[in-house]
Amino acid sequence: DARVTQTPRHKVTEMGQEVTMRCQPILGHNTVFWYRQTMMQGLELLAYFRNRAPLDDSGMPKDRFSAEMPDATLATLKIQPSEPRDSAVYFCASGLSAQVGTGELFFGEGSRLTVL
C-alpha cells in the first residue's frame, strides 16, 4: 500500500531547539510539497520540489526554515531555532508532476510540532 510517510508524528520541543521533520514520498513520485496547518492560517504552502529541485519556497520563513531533498526518497524540513509560533501540523504531500495539477496529490499523516 503506497503512502507518504512522515516522521516524527509528534514532536514537543523547547524554544530555540532545532527540529527536523522527514518525509518519504511515494516511490516514483517526483513532486513534493510541504504544508503547514494551523487553526488561524489554515493550510499554507511552505515549499515545493520537482525532481528534487526547489521550485517555490516563497512561503517559508528563510531565516529559520530550510527544506531539502537529499535524494528522491527523502525530503526534510528543518527549523532552527524553533519558536512557539512554529507550533503546527506539518504535512508532506507527493505526486507525479504530470498529475499534480489534476489533484492527484497524496498527503502524509502529518507531523504535529509543539514548541514550548
Binding site: 493550510l43 504535512f91 502529518g110
Partner: protein, 113 residues
C-alpha cells in the same frame, strides 16, 4: 493566480440531514477545482474534482459538487450525511497548467447524532 473562499468555517448538521459546503473561487484563467477531505489526525485525501466536461461530479461516498462558472462556485453537497462524514473539507483550485495550486481555508463538518 487563483484564490478560493469557503465562507463557512464550521457546519453542524444532524445525521441523515442534507448538507451543502460552499466554495467560491476567483481566477483570470480556466481552473481545475477540487474537494479534499481531512479526517481527524489524518492528511488530506482527494474527494472529487472537476477538470472539464460535465459540471456535476460525484464521489464514491455520495458527495457531489457542481461547477458553476457564472457564479464562480463549486459547492459540495450530500443529500443525507452520516456520522462518519465528520471531517474538515477543503476546496482547492489550480490553473489548467497544474500550477498555482491553492487551498481554501476549510470547512469543519460536524455530523450530530
Amino acid at each position: 493566480a487563483q484564490s478560493v473562499t469557503q465562507l463557512d468555517s464550521q457546519v453542524p448538521v444532524f445525521e441523515e440531514a442534507p448538507v451543502e459546503l460552499r466554495c467560491n473561487y476567483s481566477s483570470s484563467v480556466s481552473v481545475y477545482l477540487f474537494w479534499y477531505v481531512q479526517y481527524p489526525n489524518q492528511g488530506l485525501q482527494l474527494l472529487l474534482k472537476y477538470l472539464s466536461g460535465s459540471t456535476l461530479v460525484e464521489s464514491i461516498n455520495g458527495f457531489e459538487a457542481e461547477f458553476n462558472k457564472s457564479q464562480t462556485s463549486f459547492h459540495l453537497r450530500k443529500p443525507s450525511v452520516h456520522i462518519s462524514d465528520t471531517a474538515e473539507y477543503f476546496c482547492a483550485a489550480s490553473d489548467n497548467y497544474g500550477q498555482n495550486f491553492v487551498f481554501g481555508p476549510g470547512t469543519r463538518l460536524s455530523v450530530l447524532p
